[in-house]
Symmetry: C2
Subunit: 345 residues, 2 copies
């Protein structure tokens, strides 16, 4: 991003294009450089971007270098500057004091996804953002969404299962293991491969709540989605230093529904699913018989998998659960006397 | 503001109206209440707003009470949460944990100003935001702006001299004294009363830089202005705890030029005036003969007035300077053995 785009993102969560139209943009996509790198760029008007192996990734041309005010960026993105914001500490706090922007060739993958939906004759695409293993409650929600879209008159609604592939905090399950788990969920028929497209969303997780959910939704519009499933407290987390959630659980949905440039997105509210003890399966929570339901949090799920215990029958397909247990096994060589398995590619 | 307006202000710096149009709104206009007040409101659907003397000011109807997340409000408004933000400490930090919004009868004063400009047959109105005494550099800028507008073909450009009348930090000169000073500036003919309308802008000073300057400009559009003079680092201040300016000096102007809902405002850049020693008057700074110019900062001006010293001839009209000296005299009874004069009404 150039400075004008960076400022519009921080202040307006949107960008005005040359034709006067407004697109939503709530997270800055910027590249930080330090003083030494800035000096090396000198008066060049373009720079090469390379990966860790020094292979050329892209050319940034007609460049512009401007100040990286990290405090302001963090405050305006997260609504707090408290220490302990995972992405801020991973990527911003230690980054250089300058940002470099310019003209960059865009990646083609959102266009490839749109082509795939066209090939499948999808007349509605509903996107599900996730950074966790899929349990049967998620699957129920996705299946039920398809049912609703069919009832609304769509002939062929297709699910975009779009796991986040960039940075996640240490206690989240890494992408490669999640992809193996998602594969099992499709193999076991919990989700229908015929009406599901799985693709990686190559974005880092900011945990920036109402600000980030706009980016999550906007990126999926670009990839061809016109329905977006949004839950309670999307992209939220606990406050890093206070005993409370960082964001109001309803603000994500509210902000998304009002966000400039997202008018054509249909937002589908996330129904709450829980384990129904009377049916031994995940079902939509019915408050009139609350005592029949068991809520299994992410923390609880991780603890069970770490201890090689099984969740109640019907919580997750057995093949998917096995992947989770293997993942935690791989983390604890000292406890079980084995060497960690390599992370699958 | 209701919660939906509060969220749009914090995230988008703009509000979408029912007809789909977008107006700029960068600062929340909210009323905080504490737990006891919330309990007293109970299930009422409207409340009376009273002043310090318990006189009725307005009725807020169809009310809505929602959480006041002060940290998030401060971070998204100022781009920092550092202690020492004057308005945040004055009004937010100690305020209640709830906000109350609803339908409020609007004040008529911006409409009255528009009527006044019509009565004067103004074909251009240029606004000057100020919270300081007017020196001859300011006056030069305003006079020169009028000259430019005449050159552009306008027949009767009128200046809206619009001193801020709400909260200001302790070292700023209070409104009542500034109004006396502005009166002298008009009496002495430094500004032309024929083409100047003086009115109080009843807003508290947030010192929120690029966020606040949008509010300053938008409010003046509402009052009939179509040209807005913006300087370096508008509504800026020093970082409360670090040795730097809180905002980039150019960001205010840049953000203003891109702000949603402010498309029809013409932004006039603030030319820098300084004391020209060769002419013994304030003149536009000419970098080719920088050594001829003297910059007299606000701090320097206050120090001179406090010490009853005179600034160089031509810096401010003598009548206006006298008001400043009187103000500082009134603050220091112990030093001059006199009682403080009452602040003029």
């Amino acid at each position: 991003m150039r400075e004008s785009e960076f400022l519009q993102t921080l202040h307006f969560n949107s960008l005005r294009l040359e034709d006067g139209s407004v697109v939503n943009m709530s997270l800055p996509i910027v590249l930080a450089i330090d003083d030494a790198q800035k000096n090396r760029v000198g008066s060049s008007t373009s720079v090469a971007l390379v990966d860790e192996k020094d292979d050329l990734v892209a050319i940034l041309s007609d460049i512009e270098i401007y100040k990286h005010n990290k405090e302001e960026r963090i405050a305006r993105t997260w609504g707090t500057t408290a220490p302990g914001l995972p992405y801020a500490e991973e990527t911003i706090t230690g980054a250089g004091n300058w940002l470099i922007g310019g003209d960059l060739e865009v990646s083609l993958s959102p266009a490839q996804l749109r082509d795939e939906f066209e090939r499948r004759n999808a007349d509605a695409v509903f996107a599900f953002q996730l950074r966790n293993p899929v349990h049967n409650g998620h699957a129920l929600l996705m299946t039920d969404t398809r049912r609703c879209l069919l009832e609304m008159g769509y002939k062929n609604p297709v699910l975009l299962l779009h796991p986040l592939g960039g940075y996640t905090k240490a206690d989240d399950v890494p992408l490669s293991w999640r992809m193996r788990q998602h594969e099992k969920v499709l193999e076991d028929g919990v989700l229908d491969p015929e009406t599901t497209v799985v693709s990686i969303f190559p974005s880092p997780m900011h945990y920036a709540g109402p600000t980030e959910v706009q980016w999550h939704a906007k990126a999926r519009i670009n990839a061809g989605a016109n329905f977006y499933i949004v839950g309670r407290d999307p992209a939220g987390m606990s406050h890093p230093i206070e005993k409370r959630d960082l964001y109001d659980a309803d603000h994500g949905k509210k902000v998304l529904s009002m966000a400039p440039g997202l008018e054509r997105l249909n937002i589908l509210p996330f129904k709450v699913a829980a384990y129904d003890k009377t049916q031994s399966k995940m079902a939509f929570f019915d408050p009139s018989r609350a005592q029949d339901f068991l809520f299994i949090s992410g923390t609880k799920m991780r603890t069970l998998a770490k201890n090689r215990e099984n969740p109640p029958d019907g919580f997750m397909c057995p093949g998917g659960w096995k992947v989770l247990v293997e993942y935690y096994d791989s983390l604890a060589p000292a406890q079980n006397g084995r060497l960690p398995e390599p992370v699958p590619a």
